[in-house]
């Protein structure tokens, strides 16, 4: 009634104005896409201080001082700002301004696990990546789309090979020996992830998630803090990635075609020696050794070492092995979808095909996928839905790093080796060389492919019950069938070998969720749910290996003379009881209580069940009277949460049980032996996380700032603790360690410029994380090692490098004082420096040759002896700062998006550099740029020692720790959308053409291939520790594509 009176009053005033003809007013409404009025939007007259905030149903009135043509700037949190010009003559006509929804939004629905919430009702930290952003990514897996788009979420591509693995760290590394990867949930079903490939064959890993077509995804929501993730209980502490696939909507059927094609190349190529240079360097090394010998042992006779390969000098040539093993790859990606629906049913259906060859010769990844999501309104109160995804991928894999291929091409395939002998056969260097070190032969003759067939399906029933209750019953299935086919030719190794290996994973889930959503008191809204869930996953691996084939065309292991079969089985189950209670009082005060009671077969009888609670509170200040309607501050919200989540993934099944194992046979009789000590207390790792966040939006959402502080303490970390060997065992898995991650995330988003003609949107995210090990169960440094000398040491980040320090290179041959260890043994006892037996030093004067490598000992004094007792923790494999800056411009049909990704503060230990920088004795090709400043003549000042074939340079020192910081133009997209009327005249509703480049430019001090790396490791521990280690790790891929997107 009151409103009507006001309206009447306003109309009266307006009409009186008309009557009087002096003052002029603009009246109108601001509405959303669906025509619903938007309350609280800001309407401003450009160039003046005049303006209004919309009232109920979006109505506003602005009184102008004089009638003139005006530009209205309209903005609202959750919508794209709009500008409208109103002609002087039309001022008296009420106008309707429609705002489009936008991702800069606080109004959007966010998937929170077992339901959705409006963003402004959240008490936890959730990042969202939407369909548009996912589609902008041209890489084959959806995880790549998250990179740079979710603050605090570090996405690491292991390399740029097609179909290769990814790693995601949500707010820092979350485990030491168990999985550090988040839980992936697709349409409510936690799915099988990771590498199912044969272990350690090619130095790369496969990615089970690559079977999902990113084009089918509507949104990716990443649950980051305990308030958000506690609903996933014992599997939530590494964060949860919730993937929601596209749904149909009522209305006419729309078809959408997205097609792009382009090239894939490496981001960088390192500079290696050619054959002549290598041989010249070899001669230099011999010369240096002879000089050294003449000084140190003048009476000895020097014998020059021959070039590796023991080959006929007439065959010496210049082969660029990288050129022979690398290529320009091609990417083709096509997706077609149809979506629509009626009041009875809605559907989304799609087909996708991707064919990608990478920069590595022989590497190709193909995916065919189809998805159908249908929802039927069976009755007024019952909805039935089915989501089905079928996919097939074929990944033709090639070796890299230490396994050969481009790894061999940059290391053991020396540049003076020819590819072929004069008779046309493959050149194979003589001992101590192995045939695999002709990478061209290896790539041409061997094959290794993985195929997977996958069915992801879920069925659900949604029943609307009386009294604002609803019940959802769901069954989900993830059937994963993975096949390895490997053939190693007799050309490459002494006998042909083939292996077929099949992995089948059956993963199913059922749950029932009862929800309630209503006001329970005036002003008090309650949304609550209770759910039960059961999940079970079983894995069966069977394989057959064969050696010695009668013919090179017979490649099935069955055809082999010697055959060997094997099998493996494992499985786990979870049973969970879930509840969440969210209260909202007057839209100002929010309280969220959630918890999950989880039981897991992975854990011991005494710890099988665990409870994971979280509490979150929020205060929306901008809904208070003193800020409501404020023209500058559109949103101000403070929230805090605390809770406990667990990590039960990446832990082998059955570990809590004491068991006997078969295979202890004697004299033809089968026997059994004890395999594992029982630990009935074995349980999940546990993370207690505090999150404090402030969110603010200004000028109707034109600028938004979100700042989060978090502290995560992870305890009960699983470690293999040594037990006295006289027990008959060497270690027992126990929950003992702890570490913490603390950090800050800042997101600044805004529209610096918005006008009808030109919009500029900018998004800046900065995430800081500090990781520190608090307790490693007093294990000695070498007890838990990762790749490339990474360790877990108290007071240092997880995976810090434990390494000797170089004290530079002696400039002139001279007698100097060095400090030596009295009783050194080159072994490590206890924590470095703990055991005094190894730390009695004495000074001595010795002759040090010019060009010799010197070291610092534990005392920080110069020594000439390389001793493992002098190792110290150095460096951090994880960045201390990382984030992105994304600028999006739209103007007259064009859209330009440029995303810059950056990370600072991390170091990379290049484990191969010790063999590639001035170490010819390794028989590796050398890095030309890094080797050239080597010591060559008396008086040279450098940190690269003289070349030698007798000195042991195959040692780890901090010379090979490099700054891993980089800034990268991660994505640049330029698109043009045809005006709607032209498109429609061509029978389309939408036509957009675009070009996208990914990883176009990189700025870094890292001298290797590419600073974005993850060394090949199939264990969770290697992944947690190895984020900063490279060993001939292949570079990232640069993709450049042109594409077209058609809707009709």
């Amino acid at each position: 009634m009151m409103q009507r009176l006001i309206t009447l009053f306003a109309v009266l005033i307006a009409s009186s104005g008309l009557v009087l003809g002096a003052a002029t007013s603009i009246t109108g409404t601001v509405v959303d896409d669906a025509g619903e009025g938007i309350r609280g939007a800001s309407v401003k007259v450009a160039g003046t201080k005049l303006g209004a905030i919309t009232k109920a149903k979006g109505a506003f009135t602005i009184i102008l001082t004089e009638p003139t043509t005006v530009v209205l700037n309209v903005s609202m949190v959750g919508y794209k700002p709009a500008s409208i010009t109103i002609d002087k003559a039309r001022l008296d006509q009420p106008i309707t301004i429609a705002l489009k929804r936008d991702q800069l939004n606080l109004q959007e629905a966010v998937v929170v696990g077992y339901g959705t919430k409006q963003r402004q009702d959240l008490t936890g930290s959730i990042s969202r990546v939407d369909a548009k952003e996912i589609q902008a990514n041209t890489y084959g897996n959806f995880e790549n789309a998250i990179m740079g788009r979710a603050p605090g979420v570090q996405v690491i591509n292991s390399n740029g090979m097609a179909g290769s693995a990814m790693s995601i760290r949500v707010r820092g590394v979350g485990s030491l020996t168990a999985s550090g990867e988040p839980l992936y949930v697709i349409d409510g079903v936690p799915i099988s992830t990771g590498d199912f490939g044969g272990k350690d064959r090619l130095a790369t890993q496969t990615n089970a998630l690559a079977s999902i077509n990113p084009n089918d995804i509507e949104s990716i929501d990443i649950l980051k803090d305990a308030d958000a993730a506690a609903i996933y209980g014992s599997r939530g502490s590494n964060g949860v990635v919730i993937i929601t696939t596209k749904r149909g909507a009522q209305g006419g059927t729309r078809f959408d075609v997205n097609l792009f094609t382009g090239t894939a190349t490496e981001t960088n190529r390192i500079n290696l020696l050619d054959g002549d240079e290598y041989r010249a360097m070899w001669a230099e090394a011999n010369r240096q050794d002879s000089i050294a010998l003449s000084i140190l042992k003048p009476t000895s006779r020097f014998t020059a070492k021959p070039l590796p390969g023991a080959m006929d000098p007439a065959l010496y040539t210049n082969t660029d092995w990288l050129d022979k093993t690398m290529q320009t790859g091609n990417v083709l990606d096509a997706s077609v979808s149809a979506t629509g629906g009626s009041s009875f049913a809605t559907f989304f259906t799609s087909l996708g095909y991707r064919d990608e060859s990478s920069y590595a010769v022989g590497n190709r990844f193909q995916r065919m996928s189809g998805r159908t999501n249908v929802e039927v309104n069976a009755t007024d109160n019952v909805k039935l839905g089915v989501n089905v995804n079928l996919s097939y991928t074929d990944n033709e894999r090639v070796p890299s790093a230490w396994a050969g291929g481009i790894g061999a091409a940059q290391s053991s395939a020396l540049p003076y080796f020819p590819i072929f002998n004069p008779d046309g056969t493959y050149f194979q260097p003589q001992r101590p060389w192995y045939a695999m070190y002709n990478p061209v032969a290896q790539l041409n003759e061997n094959t290794f492919s993985n195929t997977d067939n996958r069915i992801l399906a879920n069925l659900y029933t949604l029943v609307k019950l009386p009294s604002n209750f609803s019940l959802r019953v769901q069954g989900g299935l993830d059937l994963f069938n993975f096949t390895d086919r490997r053939y190693t030719s007799a050309v490459v190794q002494s006998q042909a070998e083939a292996e077929f290996r099949k992995v089948g994973v059956t993963n199913w889930l059922t749950n029932a969720t009862l929800s309630y959503d209503n006001s329970i008191l005036p002003d008090l809204q309650l949304s609550a749910l209770a759910a039960v869930e059961a999940q079970r996953s079983d894995q069966l691996v069977t394989g057959l290996k064969g050696r010695e084939f009668p013919s090179p065309t017979l490649r099935n292991p069955t055809s082999a003379a010697i055959r060997e079969g094997y099998s493996f089985e494992t499985g786990f189950s979870f049973l969970s009881f879930i509840s969440r209670w969210s209260f909202s009082y007057q839209q100002k005060y929010l309280l969220n209580l959630s918890g999950r009671y989880d039981g897991s077969s992975r854990f011991g009888a005494d710890t099988r069940y665990g409870f994971f609670p979280a509490v979150g509170v929020a205060w929306i200040l901008s809904n208070e009277d003193f800020l409501r309607g404020n023209e500058d501050i559109s949103l101000l919200k403070l929230r805090a949460s605390y809770g406990v989540t667990g990590n039960a993934d990446g832990i082998d099944d059955y570990q809590w049980q004491g068991t006997f194992k078969a295979g202890a046979d004697y004299n033809g009789s089968p026997g059994i032996r004890p395999d594992r000590l029982a630990n009935p207390n074995l349980g999940w790792e546990q993370t207690a996380q505090l999150d404090v966040t402030a969110e603010a939006a200004f000028w109707g959402g034109r600028m938004q700032v979100t700042t989060s502080f978090y502290s995560k303490v992870t305890s009960n970390v699983l470690l293999n603790v040594a037990v006295p060997a006289s027990s008959g065992f060497s270690s027992i898995l126990k929950n003992v360690g702890s570490f913490e991650n603390r950090g800050v995330e800042v997101v600044l988003s805004g529209y610096p410029i918005t006008s009808e003609a030109f919009t500029w949107r900018a998004d800046l995210s900065i995430a800081h994380n500090r990781n520190e090990v608090l307790d490693n169960a007093n294990l000695p440094p070498d007890a838990i090692g990762g790749p490339g000398e990474t360790r877990i040491l108290v007071g240092y980040p997880v995976g810090t490098f434990f390494i000797n320090r170089s004290a530079g290179v002696q400039s002139r041959t001279d007698t100097i004082v060095v400090q030596r260890r009295r009783s050194g043994n080159n072994v490590s006892f206890g924590t470095a420096g703990d055991d005094q037996r190894w730390n009695q030093f004495y000074d001595t004067s010795i002759v040090v040759l010019g060009g010799s490598q010197l070291f610092y000992n534990l005392n920080g004094r110069v020594t000439d002896i390389y001793d493992l007792n002098d190792r110290v923790p150095l460096g951090n494999p994880y960045p201390t700062f990382f984030g992105s800056l994304t600028n999006t411009f739209t103007f007259s049909g064009f859209d330009v998006t440029a995303m810059i990704y950056y990370q600072f503060g991390n170091q990379i230990y290049d484990d191969a550099a010790k063999r590639q920088v001035g170490n010819l004795a390794s028989n590796f090709n050398q890095n030309r740029d890094l080797t050239s400043p080597r010591w060559q003549n008396e008086g040279d000042v450098t940190d690269v020692p003289r070349l030698s074939l007798t000195e042991n340079y195959d040692i780890n020192t901090d010379r090979f720790i490099y700054d891993g910081s980089f800034v990268r133009l991660r994505q640049l997209t330029i698109g043009y959308t045809l005006p709607t009327d032209i498109a429609e005249s061509m029978g389309m509703s939408r036509l957009r053409v675009y070009v996208t480049g990914q990883n176009l430019l990189t700025w870094t001090k890292y001298p290797g291939w590419d600073p974005e790396i993850m060394r090949d490791q199939d264990g969770a521990q290697g992944r947690n520790l190895g984020a900063g280690v490279s060993y001939l790790t292949p570079p990232q891929a640069r993709q450049m594509v042109v594409g077209v997107n058609v809707g009709f």
Partner: protein, 337 residues
């Protein structure tokens, strides 16, 4: 339908769901047997005994290193420059914790002892229909424990007589199976206590076992081994008595000539080097373990030896050992090799 109904329905659903939840979460490992089930039957105990014997034939133990390390230390063989670092450390008497041979000798030795202890504990808990079988199992287990403990004592403790009352540290005496973390820590006993345990084990085994029990040690083989222990303890009278008993039993034939345990030519090809393999070929008599030893030596001892065994050296070392080991393991061994 009102709230109450909904609550009832949901509760019903929940209880259906929860039913059998314990069994849902209890999964048995498909590739392993839990401790409780593994040793719950005489057949299971028998399999565990086989597993213990398998532990003994490990290359780190009686299948190789208990012999080769002694040879290295007694300078009967030398390691070449190309040998792996473990053996290089052994010959220089400079072992660190990373030494694979030293570590494995200790670990695998106690692995066998733990396997045996599991058998002995299970024998007390399981009902045997055939009491003779239980006796035999206990006898086999005790014989293996005594033999293994003795080997570990010779390698990891100062010898008998190092202190006048032998109160110097011996090894850890383990007579109970280790099942969980709780039982993993135990201190070293004195050497005297160790030898008492060894003698008790072998004596009890000899009483429980039939004269021969191939492919396990029978009472005679056990006595032969006990004789060796007595010899080490300086009890030559008992050693002589036990050896005489074995010789007079007629179950075993003495070699005509001490040198006949040494073959002078080698037909086995391995790693392209076969010149210094005289001793090893003969040891194939040991059957499975001997083959393993040959393999082991293929990568270790034989390859590193730059000096052939001299007959006398070899015989002096092997004299007692071969008699006993051949006696204990020969029958099926020679059949299978």
């Amino acid at each position: 339908m009102n709230t109450k109904h909904i609550a009832v329905i949901f509760t019903a659903l929940l209880s259906v769901f929860t039913m059998g939840c314990e069994s849902f979460l209890k999964t048995d490992p498909p590739l392993d047997i839990s401790n409780e089930i593994a040793l719950s039957t005489p057949a299971g105990i028998g399999a565990a005994l086989v597993g213990a014997a398998d532990g003994m034939q490990s290359g780190a133990l009686f299948g190789g290193n208990t012999i080769s390390i002694g040879e290295l230390w007694s300078n009967n063989v030398e390691a070449s420059v190309g040998a792996d670092f473990g053996r290089l450390q052994i010959i220089s008497y400079n072992l660190n914790i990373f030494n694979p041979e030293g570590r494995a000798l200790w670990q695998d030795g106690y692995g066998v002892i733990n396997r045996v202890n599991n058998v002995l504990a299970a024998c007390e808990n399981v009902t045997f229909e055939d009491p003779a079988l239980k006796q035999r199992y206990r006898g086999r287990a005790l014989a293996m424990r005594g033999m293994t403990m003795f080997q570990l004592c010779t390698y990891f403790a100062q010898p008998w007589g190092f202190t006048s009352d032998n109160s110097h540290p011996g090894i850890v005496i383990r007579t109970e199976p280790t099942l969980g973390d709780a039982g993993t820590r135990k201190a070293r006993a004195t050497l005297k206590e160790c030898y008492e345990q060894i003698v008790a084990d072998l004596t009890a085994a000899a009483e429980l076992l039939p004269p021969t029990d191939a492919p396990f040690m029978g009472a005679l083989a056990t006595k032969a081994y006990l004789a060796r222990v007595c010899f080490h303890m300086g009890d030559v009278v008992r050693a002589e008595a036990l050896t005489t008993e074995v010789i007079n039993s007629g179950a075993y034939r003495l070699n005509q000539d001490v040198t006949s345990v040494v073959s002078t030519n080698s037909t086995r090809k391995s790693s392209g080097r076969s010149s210094t393999r005289r001793s090893i070929t003969q040891l194939r008599l040991l059957g499975t373990s001997a083959r393993q030893m040959v393999q082991h030596h293929g990568t270790g001892l034989a390859r590193i030896s730059s000096m052939p065994f001299t007959r006398t050296q070899l015989i002096s070392v092997w004299h007692c050992m071969t008699t006993v080991t051949i006696a204990s393991m020969s029958r099926s061994g020679s059949a299978s090799s």
